[in-house]
């Protein structure tokens, strides 16, 4: 192709008074932005390749590098934005589907940022979690409608048989990220952090690496349409199984792990030959209805002797409430709902940016619907799709979730800078890549420390927020929307979220 109309997205600013030509930036950039000219002993930069991941700037020993947005400015146009123009240039050049990594970055309203939490003043005491008991332990799974107890010689005896449950020390789980989309060191960091924090991580649909089997009790194993790496040992090892129907970043479409990411080790885990595409279409062709979903749920229960919870993950879409009702009635022990802003290793940009609904509205709609139908206790609700802070966790639970799934936040904890180029396999932070030169940059000992720190910090903050509201257990917050007030929302939005406006009595 003759003329490349794409300009650089970023500008690499090198302070020559600081640069010592040590070439750290040259070695650190997998996109080959930096190059060393030995003759003149100078490091040059070709910013057209820069993705804005800040790896070079972060590691530069003399702080000589700054990454800025490129300064090229088009004639101002509120309609034809630079992003729209660049996408047109790129597509007319390649004829291909635009790809993006991570979640939707478009300026749709973030409802979490329009919700405010309550606190106790005078009339009801707040609780100081540093000195008083505060319960964050969360149980995921079906609860019986009623329990029967009998009086025996040794006290009360529970007669009702309880279903299989997952117990979390804090209402947070690491969401599905497959080995293949992220590196082994990233998977290992998540598994070890889940064990250390008493929570669970999720294999995604890429199977389970043999060396991670020891983390089985802290593992949710996914079963997706391609059934990669799904075999009896995989099902037996995990603490829970999750049928993946959809994902917030790409509702209604499937996944293609490109052949070049199917290395020898990824091939072993997915149980497919090296170098072949791993295709996961959107539909499971054995599921065309809620009845069929029930069939797979019970196939998995049969295959694991009814000893493990079986959940179903869906993307938040328009009719999410009746869909969730169907999933609950199909016998799922939990429903994972992934909102519009949920992340991904690769999704067509047009899907990522335009399909689905925000998770806040989905939680509210589903919780409301399940309560109205009297089946909320039969199923747990795990909400994901851009939970950015402990405040988002608390707001999601107050809206009706039992727990939250985090993935983007976990990747950021491990060093991700949200450059959105996961699909290139050139992640300079060693996370979304299988290149051994890059993957060794993520030290699992440091990864696990940073993840555990994040979970600890959020848990402390959640306790503080709960205590402030006068609650001593996260259970008391679930669906307790009286603790939420809306700011800057219209009547329709307030109704959809089931909350009152700030200032209401």
């Amino acid at each position: 192709m003759s003329l490349n109309l794409l300009a650089s997205e970023f500008q690499v600013v090198r302070d020559d008074t600081r640069c010592i030509a040590c070439q750290v930036c040259v070695r650190q950039c997998a996109n080959d932005v930096h190059a060393y000219d030995a003759e003149s002993d100078v490091v040059y930069s070709d910013e057209t390749r820069c993705v804005g991941c800040h790896r070079c700037a972060t590691l530069c020993p003399t702080r000589a590098l700054t990454i800025r947005l490129a300064l090229h400015e088009f004639r101002p146009n509120a309609n034809w934005t630079p992003a729209a123009l660049y996408n047109l240039y790129k597509q007319s050049q390649t004829g291909g589907v635009l790809l993006s990594g991570m979640g939707c970055d478009q300026p749709y309203p973030v409802y979490f940022d329009h919700l405010l939490l309550n606190a106790s003043q005078v009339t009801n005491p707040s609780i100081d979690p540093l000195r008083e008991p505060m319960e964050l332990r969360t149980v995921i799974g079906r609860r019986p409608g009623r329990v029967e107890v009998t009086q025996g010689p040794e006290g009360l005896r529970l007669e009702t048989r309880l279903g299989p449950h997952l117990v979390l020390e804090t209402p947070i789980l690491f969401s599905a990220m497959s080995y293949g989309s992220i590196s082994y060191n990233a998977c290992l960091s998540l598994a070890r952090a889940a064990k250390e924090c008493g929570i669970l991580y999720n294999t995604g649909e890429g199977g389970l690496h043999p060396t991670l089997y020891e983390y089985g009790p802290w593992t949710i194993a996914q079963v997706a349409s391609g059934r990669f790496g799904v075999h009896p040992e995989y099902l037996r090892t995990a603490a829970a199984l999750e049928i993946k129907i959809g994902q917030g970043a790409k509702p209604g479409i499937g996944g293609h792990l490109p052949g070049e990411k199917v290395t020898a080790d990824v091939s072993r885990t997915r149980m497919i030959p090296e170098g072949t595409d791993a295709l996961s279409p959107a539909p499971h062709h054995d599921i065309y209805s809620i009845e069929d979903l029930r069939q797979l749920i019970y196939a998995l229960k049969e295959a694991t002797n009814y000893e493990k919870p079986v959940g179903v993950k869906v993307a938040a879409v328009h009719h999410i409430a009746p869909i969730a009702s169907g999933i609950a009635r199909a016998g799922a022990d939990y429903i994972a709902i992934d909102g519009l802003r949920g992340g991904t290793g690769a999704a067509p940009t047009v899907i990522r940016n335009h399909v689905g609904i925000p998770i806040e509205l989905a939680i509210a709609a589903v919780d409301q619907r399940l309560r109205e139908e009297g089946i909320r206790h039969q199923v747990s609700l795990i909400a994901g799709g851009s939970i950015r802070s402990s405040a988002d966790v608390v707001k999601a639970i107050a809206l009706g979730a039992d727990a939250v799934y985090i993935a983007t936040a976990a990747l950021v904890a491990m060093g991700c800078h949200l450059c959105q180029k996961c699909y290139t396999g050139k992640c300079n932070w060693g996370i979304a890549t299988q290149d051994p030169y890059l993957t060794k940059r993520l030290n699992p000992n440091i990864g696990v420390r940073r993840l555990a720190n994040l979970i600890r910090a959020w848990s402390l903050e959640i306790k503080e927020m709960l205590g402030g509201m006068g609650l001593n257990a996260i259970e008391s917050l679930r669906g307790n929307r009286d603790h939420l007030r809306g700011v800057g929302l219209n009547e329709v939005e307030l109704n959809a979220l089931g909350i009152q406006a700030a200032g209401a009595a």
């Binding site: 391609g226 059934r227 799904v230 075999h231 054995d286 699909y423």
Partner: protein
């Protein structure tokens, strides 16, 4: 009961009880089980994990042998949908027909169906190292045969077709990127998915077909030589990366 043959009438029995009893029997060391009056019970022989032999008389329900690892199932009747779903190892022999998505994502073991099968049979079949799943269909198949097939062997013999009639399935091998398919007789271009092509049969293909057709003939009592007498069409994927050029990087 060790090593014994056990017979059980399962009429009216819920699948959960049926499968629990099967697991109990297998744990107790029973090697051969005959179930009578099977009628629609799902998931039979899932989670047994031992190479036992199970004869089913009647009609087992959906997901027969789902996630199965080891057993040998002989169905004296028809199988329904999802037979051999994500099966890992073992064998299923059906003296009748089987429904849709037979062998879904099967990654090992073998399925022999005497008569016809439904839609999307062999979808997502995969092979890995020494695990190479095999499905042999005596009759003919509905559309989307071998969809997304990533490995393994699919054989369709067309024995139920009227003399001179051809397979009518369309979208054969659509999205296929691994494995191989052999159809006895001819298929037209418009019946094939875009990702597959006809390939000439070589000696290895003929040897494999002779072996599988021989086993089919032995199971169902017919003449292997007469079946092998007619030409076969071999279909294989054009690429292991069918969608590699779809995206703008």
């Amino acid at each position: 009961m060790e090593g014994q043959k056990l017979k059980l009438d399962v009429s009216g029995m819920h699948y959960r009880e049926l499968n629990a009893r099967l697991r109990q029997m297998v744990q107790n060391g029973v090697q051969c089980i005959e179930l009578y009056n099977v009628c629609g019970q799902r998931y039979i022989a899932s989670n047994l994990g031992k190479p036992v032999e199970i004869h089913l008389y009647g009609t087992p329900g959906n997901d027969l042998a789902a996630f199965m690892d080891g057993p040998r199932i002989i169905v004296h009747g028809n199988a329904q949908d999802g037979c051999g779903n994500t099966m890992n190892s073992g064998e299923v022999v059906v003296h009748g027909r089987a429904g849709d998505v037979t062998g879904y994502a099967m990654r090992g073991g073998r399925i022999f169906i005497r008569d016809d099968v439904g839609y999307r049979v062999g979808i997502h079949m995969k092979e890995y190292q020494d695990q190479r799943p095999v499905i042999v269909i005596g009759g003919t198949a509905q559309p989307f045969l071998g969809e997304y097939m990533a490995g393994g062997v699919l054989v369709v013999l067309g024995l139920t077709l009227a003399p001179g009639a051809r397979h009518t399935a369309t979208y054969i091998g659509t999205g296929m990127h691994g494995g191989v398919m052999y159809l006895r007789g001819e298929v037209a271009d418009h019946q094939l998915g875009r990702e597959v092509a006809r390939m000439p049969l070589d000696e290895a293909d003929r040897a494999l077909l002779a072996q599988l057709v021989g086993e089919y003939a032995a199971y169902f009592g017919c003449d292997a030589e007469r079946i092998l007498d007619q030409p076969f069409t071999k279909l294989a994927p054009l690429s292991s990366r069918p969608y590699g050029r779809l995206y703008a990087y």
